[in-house]
Amino acid sequence: MRLPCPYCGDRDVSEFRYGGDASRQRPAHGAGSAKEWHDYYFVFDNPKGAHTEHWQHVLGCRQWFTLNRDTARNEILGGEE
């Protein structure tokens, strides 16, 4: 699979590190109850279809970016900064 790094262009998935579901709302620093942090950290939509996720181009420019991908077909639906 090739991922579109916003800065370096298409690169092999082996150059990236996965950062997980980006649609989860991380509570602001110093805010949020234990329940909100639990739901953010431990519980996932894990959809079979369009999924917004974090990736880092860890072997390249080291930038993190958000990507939409179809988890049922590994098709890249478009990336965002």
């Binding site: 800065y7 370096c8 181009h57 072997l59 420019c61």
Partner: protein, 175 residues
């Protein structure tokens, strides 16, 4: 004065048919970083140039500028004596001269050797002199800088320097 020592002291240069792999150790490297567009503009004015996009280089009076990120670049100066140019106060400076081993890979077979080491399109039409790619060589981060038609500088992480050297020279034996 303390004597400088390279990570590739024990590496044997390779001089094959159509390919040469040597250390190109004499350089100074400094990372310059900033936060917003105005900082970037000020830096560009002082340096006289600044590559617009990541992966591009620009020649400046102080040395070669390689844009390595949306808010950062490498200042690459040949030799070991050059001084840092005047910089805006908003620019963050991080010396990195010891952090990379620089390996020169040159000759008609250079692109074939590199094609066995990184998942990058090294075809002459796709990787032209003046551009560079930040990618992985043997599971380690490496910056590959094209400085001539079939001449490249590979910036390997220093602590992986000898491992990357062995990986490159081993690839060459197959050709």
């Amino acid at each position: 004065m303390l004597e400088a020592r390279s990570a590739l002291t024990t590496a044997r240069p390779l001089a094959g048919e159509g390919l040469a792999i040597n250390e190109a150790g004499d350089f100074l490297l400094t990372q310059l970083a900033w936060f917003d567009k105005s900082d970037e503009k000020t830096l560009k004015d002082l340096l006289g140039a600044l590559p617009a996009r990541v992966g591009q280089t620009a020649a400046a009076e102080a040395g070669t500028l390689l844009r390595t990120g949306p808010q950062q670049l490498w200042l690459l100066q040949e030799g070991r004596t050059a001084a840092l140019p005047l910089l805006p106060s908003s620019t963050l400076v991080t010396p990195l001269s010891s952090s990379r081993s620089r390996i020169a890979v040159a000759g008609p077979k250079a692109r074939d050797v590199l094609a066995r080491c990184a998942a990058i399109d090294f075809h002459a039409s796709a990787f032209k002199p003046g551009s560079f790619a930040m990618t992985g060589i043997h599971h380690t981060p490496a910056l590959i800088h094209c400085i001539g038609e079939d001449s490249f500088h590979v910036f390997a992480m220093r602590t992986f320097g000898l491992a990357v050297w062995e990986w490159l020279t081993d690839a060459a034996t197959g050709l």
